[in-house]
């Protein structure tokens, strides 16, 4: 299983891999918004959490269609499916590798972008924490969508439509936690986000494996 995580990580970070692309997309969107909204720092700080969360989700989705698709297209998925690992373990490894190459780097980059939006240090901490807690759910839910759309041509376009509505709780609680920190309130948004993330990450490997099984038989 570790071999699979390492291999997927390596594929994502090699030239032409998705990890750098996702990061660049995240940074580009986050840079574009202040240009559009204007230089009102108070306003920017208010919208920062929402914008950064949405940008992070979109950036992570961008690389999702490669999660199983490239292995499916070149026959690697057949070979991986015949390995001693169960499909559930395979799904878990792929979700982990996706998070390591998108969710984690996005989280690490977010304080810098938060600074660009004029977020106070405490809110930046909450933003990074919310992304750290929440991005695994993006990878986990995205994996289900990626596995489901495997055999569909241009499945990459349907994937966001399937996955984005499911990610609504993550964006609400993630951005909500930062808003609360800005207002000096304490609320349970981070805890709810953690609960959502844990639940989704636990269920996803089974749903993902079922979808892969379906597509291998197709």
């Amino acid at each position: 299983m570790i071999a699979l995580v390492l291999r997927d990580t390596r594929l994502a970070t090699r030239a032409g891999g998705s990890a750098v692309l996702a990061l660049a997309f995240f940074a580009a969107v986050a840079t574009l918004v202040p240009l559009g909204v204007g230089a009102d720092l108070r306003l920017l700080a208010r919208v920062a959490a929402g914008v950064l969360w949405v940008a992070a989700v979109l950036a992570a989705l961008l690389s999702l269609d490669r999660l199983f698709q490239s292995d499916f297209d070149d026959g690697s998925l057949d070979l991986i499916a015949l390995s001693p690992l169960s499909l559930e373990a395979i799904a878990t490894a792929k979700i982990a590798a996706h998070w390591l190459t998108t969710g984690l780097p996005l989280t690490l980059l977010s304080p810098l972008l938060g600074l660009m939006f004029g977020l106070p240090p405490q809110a930046i901490g909450v933003l990074a924490l919310s992304l750290l807690i929440g991005t695994p759910s993006v990878s986990a839910l995205g994996a289900i969508g990626a596995a489901l759309t495997l055999s569909i041509r241009r499945g990459g376009l349907i994937l966001p439509l399937l996955v984005l509505p499911l990610l609504v709780p993550a964006v609400i609680f993630g951005a909500g936690a930062v808003q609360a920190a800005l207002d000096g309130l304490s609320n349970g948004a981070l805890l709810l986000l953690a609960a959502f993330s844990v639940a989704v990450t636990c269920v996803s490997p089974f749903a993902t494996a079922a979808c892969v099984r379906l597509n291998l038989a197709g």
């Binding site: 071999a3 699979l4 390492l6 291999r7 390596r10 594929l11 090699r14 030239a15 032409g16 891999g17 490239s70 297209d73 070149d74 026959g75 690697s76 057949d78 070979l79 991986i80 499916a81 015949l82 390995s83 001693p84 690992l85 169960s86 291998l216 038989a217």
Partner: protein
Amino acid sequence: MSIAAITVTNLTGIRGQRVLFRGLSFRVAAGQALSLEGPNGAGKTSLLRMIAGFLPSAAGTIALGETSEAEERGRLIGWLGHHDGAKPQLTPREVLTFFAQLYRAEADVAGALAAVGLASLADLPCQYLSAGQKKRLALARLKLSGRAVWLLDEPLAALDADGKKRCGEIIQAHCLYGGIAIAATHEPLGIACERLVLT
């Protein structure tokens, strides 16, 4: 690890409303190779995918030794499919090392590369390999898998004369050690084998 035989009984294969074969029965014992022949669309690939447990069969049973449950069957199978599974960004050595780890197989990567004549290209990214060289890589991976039952879909396609000879020898060696090989092919494998023609 070797198994006594593959036994296929009364197998019916259906793909998208169309019956490919009905009441198909055959047996391949340890040490035997079977050449699966027939025109395009006869169901050779589908039959291989059924044996590997990817496709459900409409009727009939497939048993690998004592094992007949689909996903357990997959654990006994070495697969060489249409597509070669060579990642453009990875080198042949990386591809083989990964699969050897994944299959928990003995990892004589260099030996496997030498056996298919790819030793000098071991560290070149796969995007620079030709179709024939990728097929050789797939063959090396099959050899490394350590599985008892080999299923090969068009193993000779894209290979040159030397590659075809090596492919035959590798299959023959596998059978000599008590393995089983079933190869869907349009050309003779160049080794002693049973033949099964799908129509």
